[in-house]
């Protein structure tokens, strides 16, 4: 067995990583378990084509919220500015559409990149805890979005011209999923086929050691935040399309928790150093399956969503907290 693994390891790290991911990750078992349970309890509703497509759509949205911040969590820091980038980026697209036309969608990644860069620089140079900084950023952008909506006198910030994006060219694969796919591939590429993944893990695992190895830690920290912003910006396009070519205009903390929960459920520890976007994808799938199945069950009130999300997040962090032993946690 061990010899066999060794051979595989030398041949291709991708195969080993995939094998490790499947073997060592409870998220995989959770996914299988959830599918079996819901297929058994509510087979007609859970396995219907429309529901499966809904699962794919929700998976796209959840993974797009969570995939960027995963890179920052690898560092052991945290980035929750994704809500802000998603909301205000949409407001910017809406504001600039009259001037830029269809090109205005480019605002999303550009804006994400800039916010990420700003977060990174302020976090590294001014030494503010990343959580507080990015949360303030999210709040600031969210309130700005609501403000834009309020002063412009419209109900939603919709750009109907992008409606053509909602039509999927491939049957059974919804367009948000197709839009999310390149972002997922980009994230996986950055993680596994460039040095960045290694560097982020190294910094999260042992920052002093990374410094001793000659890595410019500050620069790569800023880069992680920038990548996080960029991926969130790109991913927000999928969410934008999913919501009917509009952006969210009121801040909802449960959406914020959604991204964090997907990351934690996927098994990327908050202490950093391990995990990555591949795990977050699994986490996102677990999250989506749980809530998709849950609300199909009789007697589950969608109004109590927050209660379930809170409980889920708490359970997930308790399970994930094993990796945090020994560190002085505040």
């Amino acid at each position: 067995m061990k010899k066999n693994l060794e051979k595989v390891g030398v041949k291709s790290p991708i195969i080993t990583s995939t094998w490790r991911l499947i073997r060592g990750n409870p998220a995989v078992w959770a996914i299988l378990g959830l599918i079996v349970i819901f297929s058994a309890v509510v087979p007609d509703r859970f396995l219907s084509m429309s529901n499966l497509i809904a699962i794919l759509k929700n998976f796209a949205v959840t993974s797009m919220l969570a995939i960027g911040p995963t890179f920052v969590i690898l560092l052991g820091s945290i980035d929750v500015s994704y809500m802000g980038i998603w909301m205000f980026g949409g407001a910017l697209v809406w504001l600039l559409y009259p001037y830029l036309g269809l090109f205005s969608i480019i605002i999303y990644p550009v804006f994400g990149l800039l916010v990420g860069l700003f977060n990174g620089i302020v976090h590294v140079k001014a030494k503010i805890p990343s959580f507080i900084l990015t949360l303030a950023m999210t709040a600031l952008l969210a309130f700005l979005t609501t403000y834009v909506r309020n002063i412009s006198g419209v109900l939603t910030l919709t750009v109907p011209a992008y409606n053509f994006l909602r039509e999927s060219p491939i049957p059974f694969l919804p367009s948000p999923f197709l839009l999310a796919l390149p972002v997922i591939l980009l994230a996986l590429f950055l993680m596994f086929f460039t040095k960045l993944g290694t560097y982020f893990c190294a910094i999260g695992s042992n920052e002093e050691g990374a410094k001793l190895a000659g890595i410019n830690v500050d620069r790569y920290k800023i880069l992680a935040f920038t990548i996080s912003g960029l991926l969130t910006g790109l991913g927000s396009i999928a969410i934008f399309v999913h919501l009917g070519c509009q952006t969210r205009v009121d801040f909802d903390p449960s959406e914020l928790v959604r991204g964090l929960a997907a990351i934690v459920l996927g098994g990327t520890p908050l202490a950093g150093g391990m995990g990555g976007p591949h795990r977050t994808l699994l986490g996102a799938l677990v999250y989506v399956l749980i809530f998709n199945g849950l609300f199909l069950l009789p007697g589950v009130d969608p109004n109590h969503l927050k209660l379930y999300i809170g409980t889920l997040l708490m359970g997930a962090v308790i399970v994930a907290s094993k990796a945090l032993k020994g560190a002085s946690i505040t």
Binding site: K2, P13, I14, T16, K195, A202, G209, A213
Partner: protein
């Protein structure tokens, strides 16, 4: 024997810190091709300062450097040193636990393996494989570093250092022999792992040179070709072990020196309680075991007695001490304080309640550096500074706190402008005094001391010894863990010698002094 060829030589290096502390005084060493040179000395003898100068972390005040016979300026940063073929493997913190072996091996070198923005994983892995084959390391390339045994981690770190040099020096000078500095590489390793590491080093000697920094004498004697002895920043001896034959004791005496501690021994004799064995037993430890650190440790501690746990770094002595204080927890065994067994897995505060105190020389860990001295002194003495008349709530009386602080400052001769001075602005010795001073008034039944005088000057050291001896005289029992054998001779009535986590022998003070020939 191959032709002796000097790879690197430094002459007359002097380095002072803060214009006062002379860390290195006129030190010259050289490294020849294919040899292991040891630099030995106590903590604070200047070993690490010298190494940091060699790799460009510090700049010396004066001195010269010759590389392959040519005079060169001192490296200004680690990268410059690397380009000359000098690299360092740090004692700790060098390993990045969560990376895979091949990731760690090439960390920082990825640029050379990137094409069109894509990392050439295949190339990296095949190169890693050939490097491991060449160096004789057998391990799974895709396992994480933390899964490997510590000796393997160290070996990979060394391989990484060699690889770094090979790749940085590059084409035109590819015949350069790498010089790898090993800073206390064996400290965390078990005895079997040490042998493994040394076999590996002897194997690598054919194509590399090593500077081996250590204070563990037997392994220095066994594996190095030449030895330099540093003491208080000066080079005191140089032996070529291939020619000379010296005993471990001789080397030991050179490292420790013959500083006059007779005055303190007189004090020890004065503080000594006769027939200590007749005093009541205050602490008994029975078969205390922590997997991977120590096993079956048993001893008794009498009232007013000081027991020293003696042994090389990594023998489990400090883990025993920390388990007794509850900082880490033992797996099995019994700790009985005053006839009452205490739980192995309890936090330090429960140990303080039964009368155990703890003091380590690591002031950065212990003190609240941004608090005034007054508060740092009263943090363990709340029972002494709270107003007794208020039964319901405990309220700190600032007057009591102030008088407590003043008393301790006077007693320990702490040099500080006032009791409100923040601790971070104090000198190392004074910080340590504050750290030990807070227990002075608490007067616990048992004090656990871990390296109580590490890294401080002689004067402050003597003040601390005096305070400790006085505590002892007042009937406080102590357990000492230290790197300095003199400390055991000054403070301890009974010395327990440990090796690889197991008790080897028990000496009285007199016997111990004979053993270490002081």
């Amino acid at each position: 024997m191959a032709i002796v060829e000097t790879l690197l030589e430094v002459r007359n290096i002097t380095k002072t810190f803060d214009r006062v502390v002379r860390a290195l005084d006129d030190v010259s060493i050289r490294v020849e091709k294919n040899e292991i040179v040891s630099v030995v000395g106590e903590n604070g003898a200047g070993k690490s300062t010298l190494m940091k100068i060699l790799v460009g972390v510090y700049q010396p005040d004066s001195g010269e450097m010759y590389h392959m016979g040519r005079k060169v300026p001192f490296p200004k940063n680690p990268l410059e040193a690397l380009k000359r073929g000098i690299s360092i493997v740090y004692q700790e913190k060098g390993v990045i636990p969560h990376l895979r072996v091949y990731q760690f091996l090439f960390l920082g070198l990825e640029e050379k393996f990137t094409r069109l923005g894509r990392l050439q994983l295949g190339k990296i892995i095949s190169l890693a494989k050939s490097v491991f084959e060449e160096l004789g390391i057998k391990c799974d390339l895709s396992s994480s570093m933390y899964e490997l045994p510590l000796s393997m981690q160290k070996m990979i770190e060394i391989a990484r250092a060699i690889l770094n040099i090979k790749l940085m020096v590059g084409g035109e000078e590819s015949n350069v022999t790498p010089i790898i500095i090993l800073d206390e590489p064996t400290a965390p390793l078990s005895i079997e792992e040490r042998d493994e590491l040394f076999q590996y080093l002897l194997n690598l000697k054919k194509s590399n040179s090593f500077i081996f920094v250590s204070h563990i004498i037997p392994e220095v004697m066994m594996f190095s070709d030449r030895v330099y002895v540093l003491r208080d920043g000066k080079l005191v001896a140089h032996h070529d072990l291939r020619i000379e034959k010296i005993s471990e004791e001789q080397l030991f005496r050179e490292i420790v020196g013959r500083a006059s501690y007779h005055e303190l021994w007189v004090k020890y004799e004065a503080a000594k309680i006769r027939e200590i064995d007749k005093k009541p037993i205050i602490l008994s430890v029975r078969n205390l075991t922590k997997k991977g650190y120590y096993r079956d440790v048993s001893f008794d501690l009498h009232e007013g007695e000081c027991v020293g746990l003696f042994g090389p770094a990594g023998c489990g002595k400090s883990e025993v001490a920390r388990s007794l204080y509850g900082d880490i927890s033992a797996d099995s065994g019994k700790i009985i304080v005053n006839g009452k067994e205490i739980k192995l897995r309890s936090e330090p505060h429960t140990r303080v309640k039964v009368g155990i105190g703890y003091f380590s020389g690591e002031t950065g860990k212990e003190l609240l550096l941004f608090w005034p001295i007054r508060k740092n002194l009263s943090i363990v003495n709340f029972d002494k500074v709270t107003i007794k008349s208020l039964k319901v709530v405990s309220v700190i009386s600032f007057r009591a706190e102030k008088s407590l602080a003043e008393k301790i400052i006077k007693k320990l001769r702490i040099k500080a402008p006032s009791i409100e001075t923040e601790c971070y602005s104090l000198s190392g010795g004074n910080k340590q005094k504050v750290s030990v001073g807070k227990w002075l008034e608490k007067s616990p039944r048992i004090m656990i001391l871990e390296d109580p005088t590490i890294g401080i000057d002689v004067g402050a050291r003597e003040d601390i010894y005096e305070a400790l001896l006085e505590m002892k005289k007042n009937g406080i029992s102590m357990i000492l863990v230290s790197d300095d054998p003199k400390e055991y001779a000054i403070l301890c009535d009974k010395i327990i010698s440990m090796k690889d986590g197991v008790i080897q022998a028990v000496y009285t003070n007199e016997e111990f002094r004979k053993v270490i020939e002081l």
